[in-house]
Every structure is written in structure tokens, then in C-alpha cells.
């Protein structure tokens, strides 16, 4: 049978093709690359995809091809799973969570690839479901450990509206490893070439007419050229007419084949077509042959397709509704009993048989839920409701599913609307349940005040059972805690706990209430009592042994300890124990990952970086996905920035950005502070400034801790720009940052005591950086910052503060004090492995000729390189001074840089003049430069 091979050579795309092949091989730091080809229908995207795939060397690249379906409600991960199935790589989709599923898909992809690189080619990505998009981001972030290049085609038309890919591509295109190629129509010359290729020598005016009529769209141009070649009368002015006249020319049986394929979901396998088209075997094959020969249908190993989606769209309107319904019924009948529920549901629906569609729709919804495709499941549940009459007894259950799946998807409005319908059902859940669910949905929608009222309503319902009361009170306590109403939260939590005493099996609520109570007490300056309550919650969870209870309780305890209580060592211990406890039972993967992230962040703060590194390694081995992956990657990136491993830091930041392209605003701000931190070590103060500015615009004005981190980063960037002299200082940025600092200072008093301590620490750092910007050389402000962070047991900012303190001390020529500060900072930085910080301490020490270890020789200053010629007569210090003179610095500036007095500089300069036998600075500089250049 005819293959899909295109008989027309590719015209006008040679450069694009080369570039795409090059870009696909040009992987980013994570070892992955992607090219997204966008363009209008018929512009040749699919063709380009096939050409690239054909170029791949089989020994080095494994190619996997899939296409997304436009049936709206395809099953989750359809294109990738279908591609894997074609490779006979079916796999078990049962698993404990969505992350495990992604992991299994990655494993299957790795098996296909073997030791080769994998090229995943995806056509019609605009129809991809949410889970497929998430899988792609997971893989591109390198989380699946597949050496992967993705080549995908997206219809440009769909990106203009509200399509989620619009934002995804906008975020991804900032990465070095992702390219978005906009495929434009052919120009006049290329169109002419295409016409000549197909129709042979033609009149220039004919070719130009084709260009004009096709607008350079290769698909249309090709068809018009064929008409030209075949001497067809130009009756047809539109693509629609061209194709309809082609179809009309087909023999009758072939006509039927075309219609059947048009009604089916591509690819249509031969067996299925045979079941739908009532023709004997031989005749069917002859009919398919005719349809292929007329270039309407193509045939591939997995079945038949129309030659182009544009053809399908044309034919769609040409089939009578009755005819169409008959075809769909035959499809549905042929598919009944299979496991492709989504496809079956589609055919029953289009056949107009609502009752028969319903079971497959429900089955499709459940199948989607089992693959964690909650967005798809929600659409199936909604469809099921559309297919059910108001008085159908099954409707109540469907409403419950629809509301809950909408809630899981963040479709708050719909969740609430479905819940109202559910509340109106005579056989619906009780009033208390409805209030509880409504409150949960409202809270998720950010409507806290109404949610609070709803929880209170739930508690006030006369028929409310004690168990429901406990649940309502526990949730209410949690909500109040988030609203910062600690006293009210504590009260409600106590109420829940008292009620729960007499109840069996309310562990989850007790854990929730205990956590709320614990935090509320900690925030109200009774940390010990708070701690005791949460420890109690851990005990309750240990008793129940349920993974959610355990995970939740350990998480709260670890968060309380490492957060507001600042008992870092203990918090780390608790987090590790919790993770180990869950790992023993092999449950609660997401909780384990979050606990490991807390432990790693705690270890980072206490300066045990090597240990934190090991912890994050262990976490990464668990193959996190989604928000968990982002947490772990951010924690690891923080370490890389501290260690000064730029490449690894950039890799992890890119991975975070890739995952976040799918959404997840909460993590953007930590990512920005890391970007700023990294940029500063690299001396790119303007990049740091931009990251901080974006952070400031996107931070809530009441989040003083985050504002503190950002303001410090921002001021530090300006201070370093000020002292470095290469990047100009931005006065308006300083002004804005000062306003932020003032806002923090004003707000700090009303913050809860544990939060206040953190904000104070950042206020100290900000004040100190400001003094650096204003050349105040004030050791006291830095000393205060160092002490504050010492007290909090955070050695890293403390060591940083000591370094700056030493600089100011040296400015005042207090060498002994400066030496002590530098040595203390040095020891800390060395023990943590904070290489960039240590290097900067080393530079300052060398410039001031301070030995960092007591038994160490006074280090040689950084500048001197083996000198020859006239400079050989100078001492190292003199060469340093001369270097500064050559830069055009004044004695005063040189003194500041080398931490010596202006007068001493003068003495050095005098000696230099004598030794070089020169009389002016310009002459001295010339000697210096000439000898350096040699």
C-alpha cells in the first residue's frame, strides 16, 4: 500500500530544516533541547517534522512520533502513551501518585532510547491535554533523566486566543535550550520553485497566480500546481472547492472510505475501517487504494489518515448529519468492549445516542482520574452531567464528582456552582456536609471571609454530627491561622481537640487542629506550649500510622521548628526522622520530599552544606515532579550559589523555570532571589537588580520577610556596583529600596515575635548595605548584623557581615580587629565550602596583607605576576600601587583599595619614581603598561 512518503521535494525550507536540526542537538545545561514550530494550517509544519525525523541517524537517535487529537477529551498523556504503545512499550499505569506515573513514563522512554538520544516528535501540540503538557515540562527540565530533544508543531491560530500553550511557550522561550520557530508562508520565489517542481516548466504568470491565490501557503500552492499540471480548469478558487471536486471524482466505494476516515479518530486502523465501511475485503482495499491515489487519504503502519487536517475540516461540513450519525454509530459499535473510553464516548455522542454514551463517559472520567489527569476527568464528569436528565437518580453522584474534580483543578467558580446543584438534590448530602464543602471551595478560591462564615454555618447546623463538628472546627482553625488571627485560631483548634477526645477515627482532624493550635501559640509568644501540642499530634499520627497523618504531623513539627522557633538542628532531625519513617513503609512520597527539602534548607542555614547536599541527592533520587521538584531544585540551587558552582546553579534555575512554565506563582519569588544572588557573584549587578525589581513588584506588601530578603539583595547589588565601579549604580533603585526598608521598619512591630526576629536581621543587613553605598565605612552596623545572625545561628550571613565589617575596620586602619573579623569569616566560609565568599575574603585579606590562618605566611598580594625588565626592581607592594596609578586612581583612592593611608601611598609612589627613574605618574604608567604588554 502507498506509504506516507511525500513525493514532492521540500521547497524553500532548507535553512529552517538545518537550523532546527542544529537547535535540537544544542542542548541546554540540563541535557535537553526543544524546538516548537508554529505556523498557520498548511504552512508545512508536519512535513518539516517528518523531514527532521527522517534525518536522524538511527544509531545515535531514537525517534518517537506522536500526534495530539482534536477530540477535546482525549485520554491523559495520549500522544506519548500511543507512541510508546506503537513501540510495544505498554506499561502498567497503576501507581500511588502522579509523580510515580511520570517516572514510569520516563523509564519507558529511557528503554526506547537505550544509549541513544531520544527525539520526541509531537504534532498538533495545541490539542495536547494538560497532563501531556506537564509531562513535557517534566522531561525538558531533565527530571526524567531522559536525554531528550522535543520537536513539536503548534498551530499559530490557536496561540492567539486563550490557549495555555501561549504562556507556556512565552516562559520557555527565555531558556537557552528552547527555540520557537515561526514558520511563515513561502515567498514568491520559493512558490515559483514549488510550482515548477510539480507542474514542470510553467509560464511565470501562472506561477505568480498560484502565489497570489495561495498566499504562499505550500499546501494550497501544491494543490493548485497539480491542477495546473493536470490542465484542470480553474473552477475552484478555494481549497474547499479544490478538494470537493477531487472527492467527486472518486469511485463510489472510495468516496465512502474517505467519509468514514473523516468521521473517525485518526489514525483509523484497517480492521476498524472494515467494520465501519460495509464492503467486502477486496473491494475495500481497492477503494482505499483509489482514495490514496487521489491524494485524499494516506496510509501508515498504524492506520489511515486524511492527507491533511484541512481536508478533514472541509469534509466535515459536506456529510449529511444523518449519514454522519450512522458512521459514528458503526464506529461505536465496533469499539464497544475496548478500553479506549474517550474515543467510544465521542462516537456515541456524535451518533446522537446519549444514553449509550454515558457509561463510556463515566469510564473515561475514571480512567483519567487513575492517570491523575484531573482536568480531563473534570471535563468527562461535566459531559456526563450534560448527558443526564434532571430526574436521573445517578445525577447526584455525578454532581459530587464534578464538583470535587473542579475543586482539584482550581475551577472554583464551577466547583461552587456544581455544589449548589448538589445541595438542591433531595438525595444529596446533608446540610452540614454542603456547608463544609462550600467553605473548603471558598477558601481555595481566596474568599476567606465567606469561607469563615460557611464553616461557622456548618458548626451551627442542628443536625451536625460530632465528627463533622470536629472537621469544621479544625478547618476553621487552619483558615484563621492563615489569616493571621492566631488567638481565634487557637480557640477553634482547642474546641476541635476537645470534641475529638471522645471520638474514634478523627485522626486527620486532630492532626490538623493540633498543628493550628501549635502554630498559633508559637506566634503568640508561647513557643513551648505550641511545640508540645504539635509533638502530641505526631504521637497521634504515629499511632494511626496513616501516611497522610504522619506526613502532615511531621511536616508541621519540622516547619514550626525550622521556621518561627528557629530551632534548626532539632527541626532538621525531626524532618529527617519523618522522611525515614515514611520511607520505611514506602508511602507518602510527596511528604517525604517536602520533609527532605525542609531538612536540607535547615542544614543550609546552619552552615552544614555538605550534609544538605547529601540530603538533596537522596531527594532527587526519589524523582520528584511538579511543586515537589521545584522545592528540591530551589534548595539545591541555593547550595550551588553558596558553593559558587555557577554551571550547576544555572542548570537548576533553568529546570525550575521549565517546570514553572506550567504555572506555580508561589515559587517565582524564591527563584528570583536565587537569580539575584548568583548574578552578584558573577559581577552582573544589573541582572541582580532586574531580578530584585521584579521580585519587589510581585511581592505582597504584608510579606515582610520576603521583602527583607529582596531589599537586602537589591541593596547589596547596588553596594557592590558602587564599589566595583563597572556597573553604574541605579539611584532610583536605591530610592525604591529605601522606601521598602522604611515600610519594613514600620511594619516590624506588628509582626509576630518569631517573624520579627527574622525581619530585624534583614533590616540590619539593609542598613549596613546602605551605609556601604553612602561610603560611611561604619564597622558598627556590620558588627550588629553579624551578631544578629550569629544569635539566630545562621553562619552564612554572619560571615558575610564580618567580611564587610573587616573592610570598614581596615578603612580606619584597625588592623587587629579587622584581622580577627576576617579570620572568623574565613573559617566559617571554609568550613561550609562557600567558595565565592571565601575567595572574596581572601582578596580583601591579600590586599591588606593579612594572613588568614595564624600559622600562615603573610600571603603574597594578588597582583604580582613574575615580572621582568624595569619592573623587576619594584617590590610586590610597589607593583600593586603602580598598577593602581596606571588605572588613573588618586593616592586617596589607592589607599582605600589597599587599606593603607594616603601618605603611605605617597611614599610608595616616591620609591617607584626613583626606581623607574621617572618624574610623573604618566611616565610611570607608561613604563608599567609597556612592561605588562611585553
Amino acid at each position: 500500500m502507498a506509504s506516507e512518503a511525500d513525493d514532492t521535494p521540500l521547497v524553500g525550507r532548507a535553512d529552517t530544516l538545518d537550523k532546527i536540526c542544529h537547535d535540537l542537538a544544542d542542548t541546554g545545561p540540563g541535557g535537553t533541547a526543544a524546538v516548537f514550530v508554529t505556523g498557520e494550517s498548511g504552512v508545512g509544519k508536519s512535513r518539516l517534522l517528518r523531514e527532521v525525523a527522517a534525518r536522524a541517524t538511527p544509531g545515535r537517535t531514537a525517534v518517537l512520533t506522536g500526534a495530539c487529537l482534536d477530540i477535546g477529551d482525549a485520554s491523559p498523556l495520549h500522544p506519548v502513551l500511543a507512541a510508546l504503545r506503537r513501540e510495544d512499550r505498554g506499561f502498567d499505569t497503576d501507581g500511588p501518585d502522579a509523580g510515580a506515573l511520570l517516572d514510569r513514563v520516563s523509564r519507558a522512554l529511557r528503554e526506547v532510547a537505550g544509549d541513544r538520544r531520544l527525539l520526541l516528535v509531537l504534532d498538533d501540540l495545541q490539542w495536547a491535554d494538560r497532563s501531556t503538557r506537564q509531562l513535557l515540562l517534566y522531561l525538558l527540565a531533565g527530571l526524567g533523566e531522559v536525554r531528550l530533544s522535543v520537536l513539536a508543531a503548534v498551530r499559530a491560530e490557536s496561540l492567539q486566543g486563550t490557549h495555555p500553550l501561549r504562556r507556556v511557550l512565552a516562559e520557555l522561550r527565555r531558556l537557552r535550550s528552547v527555540r520557537v520557530v515561526d514558520l511563515s508562508p513561502l515567498d514568491q520565489a520559493a512558490t515559483r520553485e514549488l510550482v515548477t517542481t510539480i507542474a514542470g516548466d510553467t509560464l511565470a504568470e501562472d506561477a505568480d497566480r498560484v502565489f497570489k491565490r495561495s498566499g504562499g501557503n505550500p499546501f494550497v500552492a501544491e494543490e493548485l500546481s497539480r491542477d495546473l499540471r493536470d490542465g484542470r480548469v480553474e473552477l475552484s478558487d478555494t481549497l474547499r472547492e479544490i478538494f470537493l471536486s477531487r472527492v467527486d471524482e472518486l469511485p463510489r466505494p472510495a468516496h465512502e472510505v474517505v467519509r468514514a476516515v473523516a468521521a473517525g479518530v485518526e489514525p483509523v486502523p484497517h480492521d476498524l475501517l472494515a467494520a465501519v465501511v460495509p464492503l467486502p475485503g477486496d473491494e475495500l482495499i481497492a477503494a482505499v487504494r483509489a482514495a490514496v491515489a487521489h491524494r485524499i487519504v494516506t496510509s501508515a503502519g498504524d492506520g489511515y489518515r486524511l492527507r491533511h487536517r484541512l481536508v478533514a475540516e472541509i469534509l466535515e461540513h459536506e456529510v449529511l448529519p444523518v449519514e454522519n450519525a450512522g458512521l459514528h454509530r458503526r464506529y461505536a459499535e465496533a469499539l464497544t468492549g475496548g478500553d479506549d473510553h474517550a474515543r467510544l464516548a465521542l462516537h456515541w455522542q456524535r451518533a446522537g445516542e446519549r444514553e449509550r454514551a454515558l457509561p463510556s463517559v463515566v469510564a473515561a472520567a475514571r480512567a483519567a482520574e487513575s492517570l491523575y489527569g484531573f482536568a480531563e476527568a473534570h471535563r468527562h464528569w461535566t459531559l456526563a452531567l450534560d448527558l443526564t436528565a434532571e430526574d436521573d437518580p445517578g445525577r447526584t453522584e455525578l454532581l459530587g464528582h464534578a464538583a470535587e474534580s473542579a475543586h482539584h483543578n482550581g475551577e472554583h467558580q464551577r466547583a461552587l456552582a456544581r455544589l449548589e446543584e448538589l445541595a438542591a438534590r433531595p438525595d444529596g448530602p446533608g446540610a452540614c456536609q454542603i456547608h463544609l464543602r462550600r467553605a473548603r471551595y471558598l477558601a481555595a478560591a481566596g474568599r476567606s471571609a465567606t469561607a469563615e462564615t460557611e464553616y461557622r454555618n456548618a458548626l451551627a447546623v442542628p443536625g451536625c454530627t460530632p465528627a463533622e463538628k470536629v472537621t469544621a472546627a479544625a478547618y476553621l482553625a487552619e483558615l484563621l491561622l492563615h489569616l493571621g488571627r492566631y488567638a481565634d485560631a487557637g480557640e477553634r483548634a482547642r474546641e476541635a481537640l476537645e470534641l475529638a477526645e471522645q471520638l474514634e477515627g478523627s485522626t486527620a482532624d486532630r492532626v490538623r487542629a493540633s498543628a493550628a493550635l501549635g502554630f498559633s501559640q508559637a506566634f503568640r509568644a508561647d513557643p513551648d506550649a505550641g511545640l508540645a501540642v504539635i509533638r502530641q499530634a505526631v504521637a497521634i499520627a504515629e499511632e494511626s500510622g496513616h501516611p497522610d497523618d504522619l506526613g502532615c504531623a511531621y511536616l508541621h513539627l519540622a516547619e514550626l521548628l525550622t521556621g518561627p522557633l528557629n530551632s534548626l538542628e532539632e527541626g532538621v532531625l525531626v524532618a529527617r526522622r519523618g522522611a525515614a519513617r515514611l520511607a520505611e513503609d514506602g508511602v507518602g512520597r510527596s511528604y517525604q520530599l517536602r520533609l527532605l527539602a525542609i531538612a536540607a534548607n535547615g542544614l543550609f542555614r546552619v552552615g552544614q552544606w555538605a550534609e544538605a547536599d547529601r540530603m538533596l541527592d537522596a531527594a532527587m533520587r526519589q524523582r520528584p515532579s511538579g511543586a515537589d521538584a521545584v522545592e528540591i531544585l530551589l534548595a539545591r540551587c541555593r547550595l550551588w550559589v553558596g558553593f559558587g558552582d555557577v554551571e550547576a546553579a544555572e542548570r537548576d534555575l533553568d529546570a525550575v523555570a521549565t517546570v514553572l512554565a506550567g504555572g506555580g506563582a508561589r515559587h517565582v519569588l524564591p527563584m528570583l532571589t536565587l537569580r539575584a544572588g548568583l548574578a552578584m557573584w558573577l559581577g552582573r549587578h544589573d541582572e541582580a537588580r532586574a531580578a530584585v525589581q521584579r521580585g519587589l513588584t510581585e511581592t505582597r506588601s504584608d510579606d515582610l520577610v520576603l521583602l527583607g530578603v529582596l531589599a537586602w539583595h537589591g541593596l547589596r547589588a547596588e553596594a557592590e556596583a558602587h564599589s566595583g565601579g563597572e556597573v553604574p549604580v541605579d539611584r532610583s533603585a536605591i530610592r525604591r529600596l529605601t522606601v521598602v526598608v522604611e515600610r519594613m521598619a514600620k511594619g516590624v512591630d506588628s509582626a509576630a515575635p518569631p517573624v520579627r526576629a527574622v525581619i530585624d536581621g534583614y533590616l540590619d543587613l539593609c542598613a549596613a548595605e546602605l551605609s556601604r553605598i553612602h561610603d560611611q565605612h561604619d564597622p558598627a552596623v556590620w558588627a550588629r548584623a553579624a551578631t544578629a545572625w550569629d544569635k539566630r545561628n545562621h553562619p552564612y550571613p554572619a560571615a558575610y557581615s564580618r567580611l564587610r565589617q573587616a573592610e570598614t575596620l581596615l578603612h580606619h586602619r584597625r588592623r587587629a580587629a579587622a584581622t580577627a573579623a576576617l579570620r572568623a569569616a574565613w573559617t566559617t566560609a571554609q568550613s561550609m565550602g562557600a567558595r565565592p565568599l571565601a575567595a572574596e575574603i581572601g582578596t580583601v585579606a591579600a590586599r591588606a596583607r593579612i594572613a588568614l590562618a595564624e600559622d600562615e605566611e603573610t600571603p603574597a598580594p594578588a597582583a604580582p605576576v613574575a615580572e621582568s625588565g624595569e619592573l623587576a626592581a619594584l617590590t610586590g607592594r610597589e607593583r600593586e600601587v603602580l598598577g593602581a596609578v596606571a588605572e588613573g586612581l588618586t593616592n586617596r583612592e589607592i589607599g582605600q583599595r589597599l587599606f593603607i593611608s594616603e601618605r603611605t601611598v605617597g611614599v610608595h609612589v616616591g620609591h617607584i619614581f626613583d626606581k623607574l627613574q621617572v618624574r610623573t605618574r604618566v611616565q610611570a604608567s607608561r613604563v608599567f603598561l609597556e612592561n605588562r604588554a611585553a
Partner: protein
Amino acid sequence: MTESVWGPVHQDMCALLTRHPEDVPAVVDQLAKLQDVLERIPPLMDGNPLADFNRLYLRITTSVLERLYEGRFADPQFLSRLDVEFAARYFDALRSFGDGSSGCPRVWSVLFTRMAGPDPRPLPSAAAGVNAHINFDLPFALVTTFDHIGSDPVDDNDQHLDYLQINDIFAEAIPDLRRGYLEKWQLLLDTMNGDLDDWWQGEVVEYTRNVAWRNAQKLWACRHDLASTAKERERLDGTAAALGRLLLSPLGTFLQ
């Protein structure tokens, strides 16, 4: 389309539009640079319909940025995303108009094609731009923003209240649009029928911004259905383009 869609500044425009600003400071920066380029378009240099609109837009976005720095929004992350996504649609329209590709919405083409002609009436031009941006771009920008931050357009939540704050900024920036011209516009629109008449009551910007919010909610409901969103897009484009044409027609002089 020939290479000189933007006349002598074509290259500068294209170079500028290769950038895709990712935060509000970058959007303001891009708009400011765009203003410089637009004011170099002959013959009037600083007075063409697009420059008039861009100036107004720059002013409004600068005010948004100031408020963000001042911490005056309840959900700054939402508002920043919205601002970036909103601006991206304006830049996209400029880009596709410059490429000569088919993607440029009609409502924008109406304004862009009048670039060359000196228009002595800055107000209707600015209004035509505001019309394209609010009546057409805004609902789509809202939907993509909500989709991205994992929330949905619910009345009276923090995001809605932040969104409404922008009305104040518009009011500060274009008091004339709000008042003097309103009665005249009303009169003009009274002579029209259908859609336009329905959504043209009360205060111009506030009202249309509310229409945008409602349209976003409508789009939100059908956002998974590519065919319906395309249809809705077509409808909004058609209606807004009709109004744009009206604003820029000789009748628009009536408003000045």
C-alpha cells in the same frame, strides 16, 4: 506586504519587538523605547495615532508599576502577570502587523493602517487604541493569566478588586475620555444598533473594563474548546473593530 510597513523606522520597530518583556518594569521599558521610535515616524513625527495611544498606555503602565512598588495591590503576582500578558498582546499585534502575517487582529489593523496619515485628533486615536486593547485584548489576557496562576475569575475576590483599581488609573490618565466626550459618544452610539449599543452605557472605560471581565468569564467557561474560543475571538474582534473604525472615521472628529 512590503518591508516597510513601519516606514523609515521599520528596522527599529522589528528589532525592538524581538524582545518579550517578562515583568512590569520591562514592559514599561519596552513601551518607553517604543514611544521613542514611534515619535520618529514622519510626517508629523510626534503626532500619529499609534504614538498617541502608546503615550497613553505608557503613562497608565507606569502608574501600575508605581502602585506595584508601593505595595497597593492585594495580589501583586496576579496583577503583574496580567500586565505582562496584556502588553504581550499589543506587542504581538504590532509584530504580526509588521510581518504581514495573518495573525494581526482587525481591531488593531484599523489603527495601525492609519499610521502614515497625520491625524490631528489625538484623542480619538488614543481611544481607538484603548478600545482595541480593552475590548479585545483584555479578556484574553485575563483568561491566560488566571489559567497560569491556577485560579479563576471570581467576582469580588482579591484579584477582581485589584483589577478594578486599574479603573482609577485610567480615570487619572484620561479624565477627558471619561467626561467631556462621553455624552457625545453616547449620542453617536445611540444612532447605532445591536451589540455596541448594549455595552455602551455609563462610564466608558469602567464600563468596558467590566465588559472585559464578563467576557473573560465567558471565555473562561469555554477555554478548552478551541472552536468556541476561536468563534468568540472572531466576534469580539468584529465588534471592537467596528467601534475602532467609527472612532477613527470623520465622525470621530465630532468627539474632539
